[in-house]
């Protein structure tokens, strides 16, 4: 069994406490980091091949190095705890079970980018995780691990916890920043990029909960160690959220080189009732769907990209033969229409439009030109928007229709416009 990093303490009922975290070696990495050059910390994280685990998969060390070295402006570290990608629940577990790993990861990242103020943006619906994480932050302050002159290092760092209020788009990096600033969660046009001009106009790094939770381990045991656990282009293990038609849905920590087949059948017990696998969403609803023939793919960023989909948030949704794919697309299209922030025209208009079409198809009023309309509208909108939200919608729009076209056509033929 591969080594557990993120979930190593999950068997303990008190894993969220400072005491338990310290017992298992917690808050030693931060001391080490305070003795390192900022650039050395960044180098170690680069060496680890740590890729962003929120959805975009961007190399974390490279992201940190975008902060201008000569800037005297205050720099902010923002944690994206606005988990919202359908099929994903890993950050919820991390906030509730291992909050101190996030805090320690924040401290190390802050030291690396010279930030003294961190914001943790927790989605508004996550009330229990917010309470647990808030208590952990209080513990850290009480123990002198946050605030002024941490552990006598001369380094100051404060954490402000900011609750969201219900909007998936606030999980988009700059949508989150707009929301943090007290506005609607409208993503910002780039340039300028957040590392140059982010929260409140200052250099900002936004990292996912899980990404930062890996950092203390990387500092303690070295980037090379972390890199070696994974694939050639992505280091470490990651948390796969598996749900849908599997015997054992839940969180699975595995090396990123694990295949989808292994995840579904070895880790999660396969499909209940002996039914056949029909389709899998491999990386949250924004990832293109895979058919049952396509599950021998390694679940790292590059592996899934080469398979025409994406690793995204590692939210794995398994569908068996009983599932109506047109209905599933309608549910997903409804989600994107509901969550579109409405700022830019292609996304605002076409998410609503495509949802109406899928709804009509499912209701038995589909027309034969509807499928080509969905595909053409999606392809025309892709790449034209302010942020990648729409590209995330396009993933399912195109892949469901292209890979299961016959099923859609049959539904249309059996409807009243046949």
């Amino acid at each position: 069994m591969a080594e557990k990093i993120f979930t190593r303490n999950f068997h303990r009922a008190d894993s969220h406490t400072l005491a338990a975290y310290r017992e298992t070696g917690g808050y030693t990495a931060v001391g080490k980091a305070f003795g390192m050059e900022r650039t050395a910390i960044v180098e170690e994280v680069k060496k680890a091949n740590l890729r962003g685990l929120g959805g975009a998969g961007f190399p974390t060390g490279m992201k940190w190095s975008f902060i201008p070295k000569d800037s005297t402006a205050p720099k902010y570290l923002v944690v994206n705890a606005d988990e919202g990608e359908p099929g994903t629940f890993k950050d919820r577990y991390l906030l509730e079970r291992e909050p101190h790993a996030l805090i320690e990861g924040m401290l190390i990242a802050a030291r690396a980018i010279d930030s003294h103020l961190g914001f943790v943006y927790i989605r508004g619906e996550y009330v229990q995780p917010w309470r647990v994480f808030s208590a952990a932050v209080q513990e850290a302050y009480a123990a002198g691990l946050l605030g002024k002159n941490i552990q006598g290092s001369g380094f100051d760092f404060d954490i402000v916890i900011h609750r969201g209020a219900g909007a998936y788009i606030c999980g988009e990096e700059t949508g989150l920043l707009s929301s943090l600033e007290g506005k609607k969660g409208w993503p910002k046009i780039k340039p300028p990029f957040p590392a140059i001009k982010g929260a409140f106009g200052h250099p900002t790094i936004v990292n996912n909960v899980e990404t930062l939770s890996a950092v203390p381990h990387i500092i303690n045991r070295g980037g090379a160690w972390f890199a070696g656990l994974g694939s050639k282009s992505q280091g470490g293990t990651r948390l796969y959220s598996v749900s849908g038609h599997v015997v054992r849905p839940g969180l699975v920590e595995a090396p990123v080189s694990i295949t989808l087949r292994q995840l579904i059948y070895d880790e999660c017990g396969g499909i209940p009732g002996g039914r056949r696998l029909k389709a899998v969403v491999p990386g949250g609803s924004s990832a293109a769907i895979l058919t049952a023939d396509e599950i021998d793919v390694s679940m790292d960023v590059d592996g899934l990209k080469n398979a025409g989909t994406m690793a995204g948030s590692a939210g794995v949704i398994v569908m068996d033969e009983t599932v109506s794919i047109p209905e599933a697309l309608m549910v997903v299209a409804r989600f994107y229409a509901h969550e579109s922030c409405g700022q830019c025209t292609p996304c605002r208009e076409s998410t609503g439009w495509i949802y109406k079409i899928t709804h009509r198809i499912v209701d038995g009023h589909g027309r034969k030109e509807d499928l080509d309309t969905i595909l053409d509208v999606a392809k025309r909108g892709a790449g034209t928007t302010i942020c990648a939200f729409y590209d995330g919608a396009v993933g399912p729009y195109i892949s469901y229709v292209e890979k299961f076209r016959e099923e859609f056509e049959a539904l249309i033929r059996s409807g009243d416009h046949a």
Binding site: G84, T88, G166, Y168, S241, S243, L251, V281, G315, A328
Partner: protein, 161 residues
Amino acid sequence: MADPRRPEFTAEQLAEVRRLQSLYPEARGALLPVLHLAQDAWGYISLEAEAYVAGLFDLSPAHVHEVVTFYTMFFQRPKGRHVVAVCHNLSCHLMGAKTIVDHLRQRLGVDVGETTADGRVTLLTVECLCACEAAPMMQVDDRYEVLLTAEKCDRILEGLR
């Protein structure tokens, strides 16, 4: 509970507003936390509350209204004493969310988006709450209720006063 049509924070609440505003590089960053405070204090966020909060932030009421109408957790009309929000996104849909929603509609005698006549429960459908491993599920006030069945729903409803 204070009158939502004549909203005014207590001295203590105002102190909390100022404290929250001081945490951010620009006071406006505290708008969402303060709107949560307002909703907790007055049950929902009326137009009067929006204008009042706008005054605390030196913002135009239109810009506070933008924020309140953008986020799903802010209620602009009175809600029930309890909010039952059933997830109807993909994993929950696969695991029977529709059945749960229909059962709740029937039990409560309301449609989605409505509140029971006795003001006890507001029923909503929402997008992914990220508890997919325990689908179908719903959020009842502050807590998640998971692995729902019709019977479990009935027990939960019974516990809501």
